[in-house]
Subunit: 176 residues, 2 copies
DNA sequence: GTCTATACCGAGATAGAC
DNA sequence: GTCTATCTCGGTATAGAC
């Protein structure tokens, strides 16, 4: 899916990769759509856990920034989004999980941001999260086709703001 | 392409829609990839012109914000991006045009932003453009699957900043 | 549960009549 | 230039042996 796009994911190739016959795909999943949904749900659940861990750190903003800034996730999400564009069931699932991600971020950060002295009137937590997420995703998207004009400076700006709010980023323990 | 995704665009269906035989697609374009490239290039050229007009206005930031905030473009771009993900020629063309778009924005806005009193050290023009573009795109992407949590507040923030830099948005003449 | 075999469809692409 | 006809391939999905 990452290398060749969702259209390249066929029952035959999946079965080949798994070392079984293509009939088994239908035995276990029913249709290809169900297979895509199963993959999506497993990934999404795993990412929700990862995000929950990140948000539970003592520097939740830095952690969110780090966890969002993950190339593989962005590329795959894009693929699922494009897939959802013309498969209703998948679109619905993408929407549901997106809401859960956003909710989780909001629940974890609303109090924290106020604690940092941010006026929720002027800088609503939902907006701070949205701004952080969108910059991160957009840069990664551009990276994917080799466009990085202005990226370094922009990352610097974001991280400067994070520093002001949350202090220096603590040294990573197991971040790549 | 918008309704059903790029995979649904086949030589037969294109020919049907045009009221001709599918062989003609190959007569005129050679391969389906060439057809996609032709569509992409024509659209991109048109959008470059639209962007140039926007940037030439007396409120170029507002104009850029408006022109970027266009649903149809975002959805189609996503589709081409996904298509490019596994067709090298298309990926290359997406990259080239993205660079031209960014260049055009930079050339038009660098001076303007400095004129607004923005310190280019603290707020490099490339970053301001990147921030504006990424928020706009991200919100539209979320809109496409019905997620709008925090959107209104975020748009308000962006437009508040635009106001500070460029004054009230002038009443539209022929915006949508 | 896993396989082989196969039905069926529609894709990309080409040949050749007109 | 436009058509019909057709080749070849690979997709989804199912039936039925083991």
């Amino acid at each position: 899916m990452l290398d060749e796009g969702y259209a390249a994911v066929t029952s035959r190739r999946v079965a080949d990769r798994a070392g079984v016959n293509s009939g088994l795909v239908y035995y276990y999943f029913g249709t290809m759509d169900e297979l895509f949904l199963a993959v999506f749900r497993r990934r999404a659940e795993w990412m929700l856990e990862r995000q929950a861990e990140a948000l539970a750190s003592d520097q939740p903003l830095w952690a969110l920034w780090t966890v969002t800034h993950d190339q593989a996730n962005t590329a795959l999400n894009l693929e699922f989004l494009a897939l959802g564009n013309h498969r209703k069931a998948i679109m619905t699932e993408v929407a549901n999980y997106s809401r859960r991600f956003r909710r989780q971020q909001l629940d974890a950060l609303s109090g924290v941001l106020e604690g940092y002295g941010l006026d929720p009137q002027e800088w609503p937590p939902a907006s701070v999260i949205l701004l952080l997420s969108s910059v991160s995703r957009f840069l990664l998207m551009e990276d994917s086709y080799g466009l990085d004009l202005g990226h370094a400076e922009t990352i610097e700006i974001v991280e400067r703001l994070l520093c002001q709010l949350e202090g220096e980023r603590a040294p990573a323990r197991d971040r790549d």
